[in-house]
Amino acid sequence: MGDILGLVGKRLGLGLVILLVISIIIFFMVELLPGDIAQAVLGQGATEDNLAALRKEMGLDKPAIVRYLGWLSGAVTFDFGASVVTKEPVISLIGERFMNTLFLAAYAAVIAVPVAIVLGVLVALLRNSIFDRVANVATLTSISSPEFFLGYILILYFAVKWGMFPAISSLSDGMSFGELLNRTFLPALTLVLVVVAHMMRMTRAAIINLLASPYIEMARLKGTPPWKVIVRHALPNAWAPIINVVALNLAYLITGVVLVEVVFVYPGIGQALVDAVSKRDFPVVQACCLIFAATFILLNLAADVGAILTNPRLRHPK
């Protein structure tokens, strides 16, 4: 048990280091701006006095490294400073929105993960049949479509033509849970379509990879039925790659959500990021990027840890 903890600790440390490097990149990339933040926010027509006042307000008169350390120590306690456009604290702008995004991602994941794994096992069982080929073409099409294409098709049919679900997911306080699920169904379904296709293909590939191993041959020769070979013999060893794919796709759900949120006007953090980018509201952009990157790294870390836990061979690296 001790060496597992050691390995997990090592991965955690590595993740922290990468996160630190990314925070440096995010912070110092803004320093590359022609002029500085104050100039970019106020535009070319700003007077010297205004510029000086804003610089002082944002602390731009201090050296970059001091500001970085201040920003980082604030970020650890979720204090990302104030927006330069609305002057509100960044966290009050994006805090609730982040929760909404997490809810949407969780909603999509709860549907997508079981469906993808069951379908993946099924196509692996029926490999090279006509169903497998149809599934191959269908999943490839789904992966290749931009999210906004899928989203608008769903809006066109489910909302405009058949009127089953609302096209715009406006959330309000005091909504019942069922109402909430109904309002966010279409964005969640869009995400599910993209993610299921990918997870299904990877699950199929992971299982088919294993089918060439001698122990599967043995199971087959002793007369085990095909579905049992896959469920009892292949699946347990395929868990590691499958967990990896699931975690990767969950990470995708949280970051790839940006386009879907814009299509459905969903009040999430992706929408906030896009607005901030077009308004050049750098504190918000930095905060959103850091949150997204941290989530991404966390989920990748979870994938690594999950792989180590399910595959004893990884515990003793050569």
Binding site: S129, P146, F149, L156, A251, R280, V285, F292
Partner: protein, 407 residues
């Protein structure tokens, strides 16, 4: 029960029975399960739903026929073995390649006429050089999906290269009122400013795909160059590049692109640079892995002992032995980049107006969707179709190059 419904079920059942009689198991299962599904669909949706299924099946059949014919056409072309006559005559080869290429460059820089035709000639010559009997052998193994992919890529290339000749109106010309319905001069109606949708769609093939190809090429050269260097040099250089790639890859791509665009402003060079930086690490990893397998071979050792330099090793020994996976990777990267760029322009941060671009066309006309009009979806479908097509071709090439035969 209309005549259509009776005919529909008769045809399906006839196909199932024939397939069963001639022992075509796959066709039988497909046809019969379609019959069963149709029973349910017919009860729920009525003849309308069955008609939709019939139209889909007819379209699918048409696509299959076109793909089949296109594949046979390519095979016939390759059988004629034009490529070998070029290969046996290097001066002819370089002459045929260089003259149109120089013409095309001059047309781009100083505005010579017929630049499009020169560009098309370059591509045609490259394709002709590839047409040998070996290619014919490869093409015979292509599944219909791959043939379909090649056909779609071919169509897009024609639309993109000859856009000014195909499009009936200019890409930014305002010719009618906003959202005017289709009429004789406008195939798909007008967009939100009264510009012809169809013309913009055709020009979009040039702008959107052109940007994606340029960005992918940039990413590819950066990543493949670094990967090859890392594999041949090894040591701390390799380690350093590997760590840099790790860090870049742990930032989600769309977020990283948004960060860079917010700082440097949305313009074409910035997009190309951003995409190159974001996607180079993926290419780097693959190239390093592929080249790493080649580097340990004996013939590399022999070349090193002969005293060859790094440049020679990369060009003459490693690259020829790792082209297949690299070409497939290029296709795959193109899909990712194309989707990312389309997403960025959908968010209004890609190619700036009035240049026609598929992603922003969807966004600008999205209001039409709430009136049940599908016109804004056409550019989105164009993006999806090209990505699917490239994916189909890549799928086949990966299958060929891995030699992977699933049991």
């Amino acid at each position: 029960m209309s005549v259509f419904v009776i005919g529909y079920y008769t045809l399906l059942l006839a196909v199932s029975c024939l397939a069963a009689y001639f022992n075509k198991r796959q066709v039988f299962i497909l046809a019969f399960s379609l019959t069963l599904v149709s029973f349910i669909l017919g009860i729920v949706g009525g003849p309308g739903a069955l008609k939709a299924v019939a139209v889909c099946a007819a379209l699918l059949g048409l696509t299959a026929m076109v793909s089949y014919a296109f594949r046979e056409f390519l095979i016939q072309l390759a059988e004629s073995n034009v490529g070998s006559s070029f290969a046996n005559n290097p001066p002819l080869k370089y002459l045929c390649l260089l003259v149109p290429a120089v013409w095309c460059l001059l047309a781009w820089i100083i505005g010579l006429p017929l630049g499009e035709i020169a560009f098309a000639l370059v591509i045609i010559v490259v394709l002709l050089i590839a047409m040998t009997t070996e290619t014919a052998k490869e093409l015979r193994t292509a599944p219909l999906t791959a043939a379909f992919g090649m056909f779609v890529i071919f169509t897009y290339a024609i639309a993109g290269i000859f856009a000014p000749y195909i499009a009936p109106h200019g890409e930014a010309a305002v010719i009618s009122s906003a959202f005017a319905p289709p009429d004789e001069s406008m195939l798909l109606g007008a967009d939100q400013l009264g510009r012809d949708m169809f013309s913009r769609l055709v020009y979009g093939a040039r702008n959107s795909v052109g940007l994606a190809i340029t960005a992918t090429t940039a990413a590819f050269f950066l990543g493949a160059g670094a990967g090859l260097l890392a594999a041949t040099k090894g040591g701390w250089f390799d380690q350093f590049l590997g760590r840099v790639a790790d860090v870049i890859m742990s930032i989600p791509s769309l977020i990283f692109a948004l960060l860079m665009l917010s700082i440097f402003g949305p313009s074409t060079p910035v997009i190309i640079c951003a995409v190159a930086i974001i996607y180079a690490p993926r290419v780097f990893r693959l190239t390093r892995a592929v080249a790493g397998n080649v580097v340990v071979m004996d013939y590399i050792e022999a070349a090193k002992l002969r005293g060859e330099g790094t440049g020679y090793l990369i060009r003459r020994e490693i690259l020829p032995n790792s082209t297949a996976p690299l070409i497939a990777e290029f296709g795959l990267e193109f899909c990712f980049v194309f989707l990312l760029v389309a997403g960025l322009s959908f968010l209004g941060l890609g190619i700036q107006p009035p240049t026609a671009d598929w992603g922003s066309m969807v966004r600008e006309n999205a209001t039409l969707i709430s009136f049940g009009d599908i016109t804004p979806l056409i550019p989105a479908a164009a993006i999806a179709l090209l990505t699917v097509a490239v994916n189909f071709v890549v799928d086949w090439m990966l299958f060929r190059s891995s030699g992977l035969k699933e049991q």
